[in-house]
């Protein structure tokens, strides 16, 4: 989930200055229209210490008209607050219609810290998150725009930032023992955060995960997303009677951003796929040895899994000609034929079309102890169906949560879920297409569609990036595999499958 916020996106000073001038004007304009439309806006900031929560709030106060802003920060509850139910102080702090409330350390803080300190069990934590979800839905139902930013830093970056803050006499006070002790529990903190974000991300109250490393990038992302969300709501709302809108369009992070904005350009230029080391390869010699070793290991593990009734689902997504079929065959040749099944996912049948899109994957769940390999999968919903417009935005944007719930049910049932994205470069794909065209027994694999899909490369790359951000979880992570070299790919897939099975046993 957080890997997409660790790919080091930066914005130059020039880009920043020119963009800010435009953005400030847009935000002020949105504020003015907001007042007329009478909509309350709640912008909430969470994140790791030092990732720029308070700096961003400062900046927004500079950029926007403070008359229509309210700043809210929450500390330890006072005596007065403790005598009321916990949400009392949040209710009283709500901005009136037409204003934007900037909330720091609000309703998410306490449950998160309590979970990290193990004062809440997983079930209790879930209950607390569900209460928050109910609260936010109540506000959104009433017309409020709710936006939530998670400011992220990886462990190393956080240490660096805290050290820098502690050195500066002006910011030294911000780094106390508390911050360092939280840093030491970084992994726990992030595990709880992942669950928090997954259980409380909704179209009506979306989370945005922001890479907090580069100050300029992070400020622009927040400003741009706020403007985008307000713009969409205002455009939709002004068509209807003010203060009485019924069906508000999604304010989710999925709107095609203004393609010219700096953030959009930076995001396009650098996606999670660009962080892969595409030079990874294996000589034929090394491949032979490694293949035998990994296949032998997987075979042994799988026989044990069969006995113990532990299942594994291995799914493959990737660019056309990335080598999914070849990788799958190297896995299956290591498995007992009674114990595996390959499910190629193509267009749905009539029976499947007559039901929810997940039905056709549920029906292929195997008995205990089996391996099921999906050649393409339920992620089609947020990849091809999204890019080709086969699913509406409402449909594919709610699919992330549906998929997360589906996979959680699988892993809770002790099924190992392994998700592989085989990544090749655009050049490598072209090379392979041309080879296929020439080869008499491979040319059938190449269709007009394949060439057409290449034109949508950028759109796919954005979709992959968001897919990883929203569905790569601790219990079912994405493995992004550099697949320009087939030898490396095949051994890597076997290794990943073996590791997953070993962990599950």
């Amino acid at each position: 989930m957080f890997e997409v916020a660790e790919i080091g996106r930066t914005v130059s000073k020039e880009q920043y200055d020119s963009e800010v001038a435009k953005l400030r004007w847009e935000l002020l304009d949105a504020q003015r229209r907001l007042e007329a439309a009478g909509l309350p806006v709640i912008v909430l900031f969470g994140g790791v210490d030092g990732a720029g929560k308070s700096e961003t709030v400062h900046l927004l106060n500079e950029w926007m008209d403070p008359r229509w802003l309210v700043n809210r920060a929450f500390e330890e509850p006072s005596q007065d607050e403790r005598e009321r139910p916990p949400f009392w102080r949040y209710w009283l702090a709500l901005p009136p219609r037409g204003r934007i409330g900037l909330f720091m350390s609000a309703w998410y803080s306490q449950p998160l810290l309590d979970r990290v300190a193990r004062e809440l069990s997983v079930d209790e934590f879930d209950t607390a998150l569900d209460r928050i979800a109910t609260f936010e839905r109540t506000l959104a139902d009433d017309g409020a725009v709710v936006l939530k930013f998670w400011m992220h830093l990886d462990r190393k970056a956080q240490k660096k930032r805290l050290t820098a803050l502690a050195k500066d006499p002006l910011t030294r006070w911000r780094v106390t023992k508390t911050q360092w002790s939280r840093w030491r529990r970084y992994d726990r903190f992030m595990a709880a955060t992942e669950r928090l974000i997954q259980r409380t991300s909704f179209a009506h109250a979306p989370w945005f995960i922001v890479d907090g490393t580069d100050e300029r990038y992070r400020s622009l992302v927040v400003g741009t997303e706020i403007h985008r969300a307000l713009y969409r709501v205002l455009e939709a709302g002004e068509a209807e009677a003010p203060k009485r809108r019924r069906h508000r369009p999604s304010t989710g992070p999925h709107a095609p951003a203004d393609a010219d904005s700096v953030v959009a350009r930076v995001d396009r230029d650098r996606s999670i796929l660009d962080t892969l080391d595409m030079s990874r390869s294996l000589s034929d010699e090394a491949f032979k040895t490694a293949l035998l070793k990994q296949q032998g290991r997987l075979n042994k593990l799988q026989r044990k899994a069969y006995e113990q009734g532990v299942s594994m689902i291995l799914l493959f997504e990737g660019w056309d000609a990335a080598g999914k079929g070849g990788a799958i065959r190297r896995v299956t040749s290591a498995l007992d034929p009674r114990a595996y099944r390959v499910v190629p996912v193509a267009a749905p049948t009539d029976e499947e079309r007559a039901r929810h899109y997940l039905w056709r994957f549920w029906r292929h769940l195997s008995r205990a102890g089996r391996v099921t390999l999906f050649d393409r999968s339920w992620y089609g919903r947020v990849l091809v169906e999204r890019v080709d417009g086969l699913a509406t935005e409402a449909e594919w944007s709610r699919a992330y949560a549906e998929i997360e719930d589906f996979e959680r049910q699988l892993t809770e049932h002790r099924i190992a879920v392994v998700k592989c994205w085989l990544h090749i470069t655009k050049e490598e794909q072209e090379k392979r297409f041309n080879e296929r065209a020439k080869s008499p027994y491979k040319s059938w694999k190449l269709t007009e569609d394949d060439w057409r899909n290449r034109e949508k490369w950028d759109a796919y790359e954005l979709a992959v990036n968001e897919m990883v951000a929203r569905t790569s979880t601790r219990h079912a992570p994405w493995h992004l595999i550099p697949a320009n070299d087939k030898n490396f790919t095949r051994v890597e897939v076997l290794r990943i499958a073996g590791d997953a099975l070993a962990r599950a046993l």
Copy 2:
């Protein structure tokens, strides 16, 4: 919650026969249109043993076209089922678009029984219910119509029914030790059911609580509600392109029923308010003694509550001239003035109007150890605002859940919540209005509005009935008080307040 399903509504054989003829035709017509519209329908039956679940499913199979029906019943999971995640069998059982699936003992059974057997903690039970909610939302998002019927019997009626079933050689097999042991845990069963219904009632998947005592009434209610829900969805859907509807209108149980239907007439004729014994009264002599006794008791309890920091909220709703003010004064005169506050609820102020409607009640929450008396309350949303059309159907119908969540937060914070509805008959109200009109120092209390509201008596009665059904809970029950006699009313309110405080301490 269940009291509204225990008021003994019955339907005569003649009424039934004429209605069924019409209803069957309507259901067949809806089925035909459903097939064309391509919507899947899921009708789920839950309830106490013997309340008529299987009889109703039988009947629906008789009434409707079996080609477009699928019946689903679930027993103990098989070996095959246990090897997959628990929802696997429910996913596979989903009806295709255009068909109606009748589900018995489906996804609710296991969590409910596990909770009754205390194999699930409250938090675990909530988690299980939230998973169900996610499942149903996933189906509804995809266009499915989800309707859920809870067939109810009170403890005594259930015993009678089980005994009758056990005597009949044809049905004897249905009553085993299991049924009797569940019956012995009736109270636990209903406590868990209350929570289940509250956490899983949504506009997109509503629960209908059905009085299971009278077979004819119960069959008509189920048939009528199914037809009503389908009719609304079909009417809305046929305007749009088939199979691609986006915004489906609520299928909630709040649609004004066909006013001529037998069920509507029976419901109108007999609401929960008609079950009250309106002859309750107290002589002036008895009143004096009882008043002093109850006031003294309340005073003592309240001083203790003040010390211990236990708060109480006492809210009053009722017909105009039902005596709310007088009852409130008898309570406050028993209390330490530092420790109570009366909040009269009239039209909202500008500041209040600029926020969510619950905000103005949150702001009046007191410090610990205080008593707050609300003269009218947040229930205005589902009473006057509903009846007078000041809130949209979407607004007031989601208010039940919002209120439930609000009150749960209060009671979880150990605030005693006491809700009184003062009920007078229509004749008594007229008498009091006429007295007010004549009295020089009371005539200001009587406005044109009061006379106008009388015309909406039936609409209010329906609203009260639904309010009790949806918001009378174990942690915050409604007290329906026969208030034709002021002496009785005042003592009764004091007694109820004292009891609630005693329980809270």
